[in-house]
Symmetry: C2
Subunit: 139 residues, 2 copies
């Protein structure tokens, strides 16, 4: 059922594994500065753009809705998010970032060292090439 892959693809895959590991380290460290876990920071980043029903957050995170309850609870406990009722459908609760939550999300995004150190090693032209290749991979 499995298939061998060519050496170049294996090499790229290995590098992506390294990038993935590095990305998580940096992301979690940046989140920890604000006393947030990675999952909490990810949800806060989602809410910073727009309020979202709990169910939609679960879809974005690709996890079960029951898990979102706890994550939003912890954001709420830190005053970074709040739950709002939806008059149009009273079953729905909208999670929304507070002003402090939005400010934290912005700081978090701007402080991602990952964006600077590793990417700074590339010229602007090379970053453009990288963008195009990644975009086609992810498409």
């Amino acid at each position: 059922m499995t298939r061998r892959m060519d050496p170049l693809t294996a090499e790229v895959l290995d590098l992506i594994g390294t990038v993935v590991a590095r990305y998580h380290q940096e992301y979690d460290a940046a989140a920890a500065v604000h006393h947030l876990t990675g999952a909490q920071a990810r949800v806060l980043a989602l809410l910073a753009t727009d309020p979202l029903p709990m169910r939609k957050i679960a879809e974005r995170l690709k996890c079960e809705p029951s898990n979102v309850t706890g994550i939003v609870d912890r954001l709420e406990a830190q005053g970074l998010a709040e739950r709002r009722n939806n008059p149009a459908d009273r079953r729905v609760k909208l999670a929304a970032a507070t002003d402090r939550g939005r400010a934290t999300a912005e700081q978090l995004r701007d402080s991602l060292e990952f964006a600077r150190e590793p990417l700074a090693a590339l010229s602007e032209g090379e970053r453009g090439v990288l963008r195009d290749l990644l975009a086609r991979m992810v498409r």
Copy 2:
């Protein structure tokens, strides 16, 4: 203390975020086929190459040594790994993959859909460019 980043860098960072998310989905799904969690699969992949002291595994995973105990316990319970004594230093325990463990690790690696579908969208020349850019990012 934070600094704005240029739009191109932000775009690349976003793409990397997408790649990271996709990578984890695929990796965890591939691991689940073998009744393994992501962490267990990662340790098994390490052991497939060479036996390692518990302490070294923790360093590679960048986690505390106490966590490795449980992960290796679960691999051992499935007959995929075993602990061996080190005669040279009897404090050390070497975790080693069993034959079944090595076979599982190989299947796991070859079954990584991530390597095929997204990377297949690129030509061999493009994969080479991607490898070089990622290698320079990662150093």
